[in-house]
Symmetry: D2
Subunit: 164 residues, 4 copies
Amino acid sequence: MNRQLAIAVIGENDPTPELAALAEAVGAEIAAAGAVLVCGGLGGAMEAACRGAHARGGTTIGFLPGTRREDANRYVTYPIPTGLGHVRNILVVRSAQAVIAIGGRYGTLSEIAFAKIDGIPVIGLHTWELKREGQADGHIQQASDAKQAVAMALEAARRRSGER
Amino acid sequence: MNRQLAIAVIGENDPTPELAALAEAVGAEIAAAGAVLVCGGLGGAMEAACRGAHARGGTTIGFLPGTRREDANRYVTYPIPTGLGHVRNILVVRSAQAVIAIGGRYGTLSEIAFAKIDGIPVIGLHTWELKREGQADGHIQQASDAKQAVAMALEAARRRSGER
Amino acid sequence: MNRQLAIAVIGENDPTPELAALAEAVGAEIAAAGAVLVCGGLGGAMEAACRGAHARGGTTIGFLPGTRREDANRYVTYPIPTGLGHVRNILVVRSAQAVIAIGGRYGTLSEIAFAKIDGIPVIGLHTWELKREGQADGHIQQASDAKQAVAMALEAARRRSGER
Amino acid sequence: MNRQLAIAVIGENDPTPELAALAEAVGAEIAAAGAVLVCGGLGGAMEAACRGAHARGGTTIGFLPGTRREDANRYVTYPIPTGLGHVRNILVVRSAQAVIAIGGRYGTLSEIAFAKIDGIPVIGLHTWELKREGQADGHIQQASDAKQAVAMALEAARRRSGER
């Protein structure tokens, strides 16, 4: 089976209008490219991204912290009620071949960290910068807009699929 | 969004030809009914069920114990590499509104137990019988063939959706 | 380091007085034998077992479903707030070299299933009996009282330690 | 029961000799203060910290990624074989009332993120610095040596216990 690429979108629960618009544009670009959108299934940047994908006829998978399917936002095609709380963050990134981080707080940081542990590429839009004593920068590839972020994510996802 | 029902199929990694044929027929019935099939994503009864669903144009979600998408059987539409080992069993049942158990060993038993903890209905085909001192029987509804098992699962899933 | 043996006690949240007394006696025997008692950290059979161990100067580890240490019963020496809900059941059994099941419902059944998946011996006191079509009985060794259950668990734990 | 405070030590699997010495000194200080040391149970900074605690008669709890108790370093009093891979990082921080991060890579970053999600204080020794666009610094309290790090961790842990 020739599977679709899967791209995760992570970020703020409570985004500014600018970040929400960015998330919606990212979702639309993912769907337009024929990829599946994976996310945390709730509101904020997650819902905006799903809405963008849904408007373009895309498919979305939402990993929920609780055990109720009904908690998914209305644009989630396949809700996954994990009952694992924040641990579901790890499932979001592992289900994707590349991750786009939009803004975000410590939940997003945990997702970035787990993506890096597993070698999954992370593209950033106005998100965390990471530094460690005695290490060079460059941990997260920063994009400047939705179109570029999705193009970078798809290229990284294809490269990663090809390698394996 | 009017979502599809989701039915989990659990069972043997290494089924007899009879149980594998049963799993394939169950998968085909689930797809024919327009529901999504959820499973553990690997071989045996899981692969047979996915093959049956795929042949009828159905969608399948496979929760993998490891972190490699490539481990999914070829009939899995959406692989979910969890990296959680047997703990992924819990995600299989939580993602569904009813569970069909076909044969199975202790992995299947753990899935039955977690389904019962969360109140998700379980339909059995040649699977575990459970008894506890001083309690009445009837923990698992037993079906006699694939068609009946899927009909019972869909009815239980609809009742459960309606209740919530 | 010559480590203490670790024995898990699993069972009812809401036991009859007879089962609670049994759990307390099991806890006392575990402590008297110099082993560590592992459990789910809350009330019912878990608390009774911890109280028994504590009265004999034993050490107890309690894996909590939530993220609050304060939820542990007062006889837990080391609370482990997992935030994993019922998934913490798996940690209880994996932390032990043998498991004693006292009564119990589906949570206990999930723990028995996970113990069997991992090859950890299970001793039963008035708990589940398991059967599968076409398989012989004998899945759980049944004990008749607390002293015998702990003796059987310690022997199984020592055999298992020795094997590895 | 008046429980001991629990302090987590997280950091490099493969530390420089300087960081290993620092971890050992941190472990010794934790034990000297009568607190329990919690860690990931394997080698590197984890083993150095446990060795330091053990030399001072302290107790250590090690959350292992695999399912084999034998994988714990020899200074772990209570091994917890989780079988959850890197997800066990989350259990390490949740089991503690304060966290000391020594050097570290993405595993350590995931632990810092999960500590912050749960509001558990983090003290840093030559570890990550975190920045986000438009946010002030100060996410991790940096200490300059082992004694100061443990003093800061104990004070934060006591404050946190008192608050709840």
